[in-house]
């Protein structure tokens, strides 16, 4: 089973089993992981599902599209080198992803 490990801004960690094909955002929201708001439900409109991806994991992800890149400039907490919008990261069969959520999303 693919899994995603979420660490919040104060260091608490939760690992959630994920379904292939779902986004990392959906995995978080449906299971009630705090720290991901996702107001727009994954349509790349709000930048409230911002995560910092573990640098090792980051390299294994498909590159982001321009629209995601632009949206990230408006995230509530400033973007960093491994920032992504979690609605744009798809879970695959062998996903074992580690992300940290920012202090706030809005």
């Amino acid at each position: 089973m693919p899994k995603v490990t979420f660490t919040d801004a104060i260091g608490d960690t939760r690992t959630v089993e994920a379904n292939p094909g779902d986004s990392v955002m959906e995995t978080a929201v449906r299971n009630g992981v705090p720290g991901i708001v996702a107001e727009c439900g994954g349509s790349l409109s709000c930048a409230t599902c911002h995560v910092f991806v573990d640098p090792v994991d980051f390299a294994s992800l498909p590159p982001m599209e321009d629209m995601e890149d632009e949206m990230l400039y408006g995230a509530a907490v400033d973007r960093a080198d491994t920032s992504r919008l979690s609605c744009q990261i798809r879970v695959t069969e062998d996903t074992d992803l580690h992300v940290t959520t920012p202090e706030t999303q809005v």
């Binding site: 779902d22 959906e26 929201v29 449906r30 299971n31 009630g32 705090p34 107001e39 727009c40 439900g41 994954g42 349509s43 790349l44 409109s45 709000c46 930048a47 629209m67 632009e70 949206m71 400039y73 408006g74 809005v106």
Partner: protein, 424 residues
């Protein structure tokens, strides 16, 4: 057991339940919906879901494990038809099925319903609406056999569906009764930009279109006739002419209603205890600097979420202000429209466009003060304006005229911290 009964398993209802638990509210919470579906998100129904990009499953808000784990009782397929409420706000809600639900306090998150088309032939099979999952499922089931579609109403839902159906290879005509598209939500420059975009992609758009009747073809719909006698052929007619807030239950309780259930800044209705949130609620305009006494009813996910949070605080005994700036989005095929703020009261506008990159935005000002922006495929402008509005920062008009200048760079922080709004 009589805790909080939330009528309406909507975006607002779900957020209210979730926020209450996040705030540590311990009492029983029941989230009750009239549809025979688990609580789901609506926005994708006219877009990714209609196009077959995502499944029904990905519309579901929360897992059953989440609801169970947070002791939120989710009830589906129960339509409340009558409520008895005492002065202290407690009472019993009676469903059409005969079931009844006692409550200590009531929350109305009952939303709005699609306005029905009032034309001869409007009840023919094949005249469809797109408000809920069943509507979307019916539309989707009919699509394979369809060649011609008439969309009545050039608003968000009509244009989103038109773009989706065009992508699916259908011949789509949009009939808009007004002189421009989305006239209620965007300015004329944006309307024209949308018209050009959809026309280029093969959508036929008729403005100032006065439909006179739906023309039958056998037992079903065959087209739409305009007052000039022209008939636009249609295998289905999709109606998107706005919504009507569901206020009947509130009215039956004697709650003040005026284009929605009238609530105060804390989402509390006129009885001082029942809360109303989302598309069904009429609230004091929450935008900083809004005229005293100005009231609004939003039809947006953002408002459902933010107002639900305010209501959750109210239920836990805290008075918290509505946070953030109203914002809206509409994805129409390759076109991503994002709106920050409310443009009403604007006295001048400026357009920033880069046709090569397909970026377009309109900024609305009252004097030197920025009020709002419509942004098409321009997230940088959207995010910059939304951030500026939230912090009451300035974006100087003259400097913003140059589309090459990033708005974030010319934003000037507010001199004084944000003042608390006076009570309305």
């Amino acid at each position: 057991m009589s805790g909080l009964l939330i009528i309406g398993a909507s975006q607002a209802g779900v957020q209210l339940a979730v926020s209450l638990r996040a705030l540590g509210h311990e009492g029983p919470v029941t989230l009750l919906g009239e549809e025979n579906h688990r609580p789901y998100q609506r926005p994708a129904l006219s877009k990714e879901f209609l196009q077959g990009i995502i499944t029904k499953e990905s519309l579901i808000f929360r897992t059953q494990e989440y609801w169970d784990g947070h002791r939120i009782t989710v009830v589906k397929n129960e339509r409340i038809v009558r409520i008895e409420k005492k002065d202290d706000g407690s009472g019993t809600a009676f469903a059409r099925s005969g079931a009844s639900f006692d409550f200590g306090r009531l929350a109305l998150t009952v939303g709005a319903r699609a306005r029905r088309l009032q034309l001869p032939g409007a009840d023919l099979p094949g005249v469809l609406y797109l408000r809920n999952a069943d509507d979307a499922l019916e539309l989707k089931a009919r699509v394979p056999a369809v060649r011609d579609v008439v969309v009545i109403g050039g608003g968000f839902i009509g244009l989103e569906a038109a773009a989706s159906l065009t992508k699916l290879g259908k011949r789509v005509t949009v009939l808009e009764a007004g002189p421009r598209l989305v006239g209620r939500a965007v300015g004329p420059e944006t309307s024209e930009h949308l018209r050009a975009h959809h026309t280029e992609r093969g959508v036929e758009i008729v403005l100032d279109a006065q439909a006179s009747r739906v023309v039958p073809n056998g037992d079903a719909v065959g087209g739409v006739e305009l007052v000039d006698g022209r008939v636009v052929p249609a295998d289905i007619v999709l109606v998107g002419i706005g919504v009507v807030p569901n206020t009947e239950l509130a009215e039956s309780l004697g709650l003040e209603c005026d284009n929605g259930v009238v609530v105060d800044r804390y989402a509390v209705a006129s009885d001082g205890v029942t809360v109303a949130v989302g598309d069904c609620a009429n609230l004091p305009n929450p935008v900083p600097g809004a005229p005293t006494g100005d009231r609004v009813r939003f039809e947006s996910v953002n408002n459902a979420i933010e107002q639900a949070k305010v209501a959750a605080y109210a239920i836990t005994g805290r008075q918290e202000e509505y946070a953030g700036i109203p914002w809206f989005w509409s994805n129409q095929g390759e076109l991503k429209l994002q709106i920050a703020g409310l443009s009403s009261g604007a006295d001048r506008t400026l357009v920033r466009r880069d046709d090569e990159k397909g970026k377009f935005s309109v900024l609305y000002y009252r004097g030197d003060r920025i009020l709002a922006a419509d942004c098409v495929n321009h997230p940088l402008d959207f995010m910059a304006v939304k951030a500026a509005l939230a912090s009451e920062a300035a974006i100087p008009f003259e400097q913003a005229l140059d589309p090459e200048t990033p708005l974030k760079k010319i934003t000037v922080a507010a001199a004084a911290p944000r003042e608390t709004r006076s009570e309305t």
